[in-house]
């Protein structure tokens, strides 16, 4: 007698795949009820941190240029003065993310992973249109709950392309695009000075000025301009390309002498250890 056990049922991978098919949204209605009952008691439900951004992209003579500011806000307080909003998707495709910070970050990471697997599967370098299609299919599936607005740009075998993808899953394909809270400020610069087939320096200056407009005129954007120039030859990631705003110079000294903080009790536990490896990491204190 053969006792046959279903291999399928025993297969641990299948269970894993099933449970991680997609993020469950059954808590959506519960969250709405929670929010209303919380506000009755006078509390606010925690909100996801948004980047409050200016991102922009243009197609120029030799490829695409993507630009972004570097401020991340928690409500109306600056949480990160120098965050990176231009994300890597493939060696020839980069993506700027606006909207909810976590959503933009995770979505682009998922895309990067999928693109690499796709490249290995097909043996072909990725197309920007492919990334856009995967993005919009994923975002539509989540019905706008994944709050990431993205500008995807790159140079593939069919040429230089620029797409924008919205949280609900729609996309646009245009020679120049802006997204984020500073989009209106940035697009005004593009509408004034954009020309097809611009030279590299002129194009870089244009994107820089568009992001700068967002930095100065939009409260949700600020700090520095990051640029990413993508051509057939390769990618030039210019982090901190321009720093139009500088921190003011403080006149006073605000260091504290040792002993300023009161020491109430002190216990010393000696640990007999040997130094094996020493490394120094500079802290970003600005």
């Amino acid at each position: 007698v053969n006792s046959r056990h279903s291999v399928e049922r025993r297969d641990p991978c299948r269970k894993y795949l099933l449970s991680t098919k997609h993020i469950s949204v059954i808590n959506d209605k519960r969250n709405v009820v929670l929010e209303s009952s919380l506000s009755e008691l006078g509390y606010k439900a925690p909100i996801a941190r948004k980047t409050g951004t200016t991102i922009a992209g243009i197609v120029y003579k030799d490829g695409v240029i993507l630009g972004a500011d570097t401020r991340a806000t928690d409500d109306m307080v600056v949480a990160d003065k120098n965050c990176m909003k231009i994300h890597y998707i493939a060696p020839n495709i980069y993506c700027c993310g606006a909207g909810v910070a976590a959503d933009a970050e995770i979505t682009t990471q998922i895309m990067a992973s999928n693109v690499e697997l796709h490249t290995l599967n097909t043996g072909r370098p990725p197309l920007v249109a492919m990334v856009t299609r995967q993005l919009k299919q994923m975002l539509f599936r989540y019905q706008g709950h994944v709050g990431s607005s993205l500008i995807v740009g790159g140079v593939d075998v069919t040429g230089a392309h620029l797409f924008s993808v919205y949280p609900h899953g729609s996309y646009d394909k245009l020679p120049f695009l802006t997204m984020g809270s500073g989009a209106a400020a940035a697009v005004s610069i593009f509408e004034d000075r954009f020309k097809p087939n611009m030279e590299l320096e002129e194009a870089k200056q244009l994107v820089n000025d568009a992001i700068a407009a967002g930095i100065f005129c939009d409260l949700g954007s600020g700090s520095n301009v990051d640029l990413c120039v993508i051509t057939e030859a390769g990618v030039e990631y210019l982090r901190g390309y321009d720093k139009p705003t500088m921190k003011g110079k403080r006149e006073g000294q605000y260091r504290y002498k040792p002993g300023t903080t009161a020491i109430l009790t002190k216990t010393i536990t000696p640990l007999s250890l040997d130094v094996v490896d020493e490394s120094v990491q500079i802290m970003d204190t600005e």
Binding site: V32, T73, V78, T245, G248, R250, Y254, K257
Partner: protein, 238 residues
């Protein structure tokens, strides 16, 4: 309560709760225009400082709209919050100052202005002026005085006070630097005028880093028995 109810049902199905559907939006008479004010009282001087940015939502209305208003030769008021109410309130205060001067043949003292402002604000207890006020000036003895208010008129005399959008960032810093709080073994030196002005400038530079509503420029009014000296210094514009 509702989680207990849920367990009675099939966990796969979600019970339909009565949650809010379309919400009717009413006209709001208030707007938030941002801005931070700060006042410090010294031995024989007072400082009232404010940033000059006027914003609404994510936009900037003006980069040059100071929030310090001169009331008398020895008193300056800083008002932040809803700009419409700031303007109306300062007009009302100016009118009342004139009335007092004509009736009593002398200017109002800082303490008197503070007491009067409290009654003006409480007069609108049930439709408040959305303004955070801080009065800085010299009292009858020539010493620095700071009076801080809430939107409905509660006030007290302080040595230093920050109000407005970045107040939560500035106040603890002032508590430490002027009030010498949370520090051991530090000499409590009295605050000189130059040190105070330097501190005010530095503190606003830091506030402009982290508060999106604060920036563009800083207006500092230094009040001494010689008069009121104003200076404007630039801040971050992003």
């Amino acid at each position: 309560e509702f989680t207990r109810l849920n367990l009675k049902h099939d966990p796969g199905k979600m019970k339909e709760y009565h949650y809010t559907g379309p919400v009717e939006h009413r006209f709001s008479p208030y707007a938030f225009n941002g801005g931070t004010v700060l006042a410090v009282a010294g031995e024989d001087f007072a400082i009232v400082a404010s940033d000059t940015r006027l914003s609404e939502g994510y936009s900037i209305h003006s980069r040059d709209s100071p929030k310090c208003y001169k009331l008398t030769d020895t008193t300056v008021i800083g008002c932040s919050g809803f700009h419409g109410d700031c303007l109306t309130l300062t007009k009302i205060i100016d009118a009342r100052l004139k009335m007092y001067k004509h009736s009593n043949n002398k200017s109002m003292t800082s303490g008197a202005i503070a007491a009067m402002l409290s009654t003006i604000l409480y007069g609108r207890r049930f439709f408040p002026y959305y303004v955070y006020n801080i009065i800085g000036g010299l009292d009858e003895h020539g010493k620095g005085a700071v009076y801080s208010f809430d939107p409905v008129g509660s006030y007290q005399r302080d040595t230093y006070k920050a109000g407005g959008s970045a107040s939560a960032m500035l106040q603890p810093l002032l508590d430490n630097q002027i009030g010498f709080k949370n520090m051991e073994g530090v000499q409590h030196v009295p605050l000189t005028r130059d040190k105070a002005v330097q501190l005010v400038k530095d503190v606003f530079i830091s506030a402009a880093e982290r508060d999106v509503y604060t920036g563009d420029a800083l207006r500092v009014c230094v009040i001494t028995k010689e008069g009121i000296n104003e200076q404007t210094i630039p801040l971050r514009k992003d």
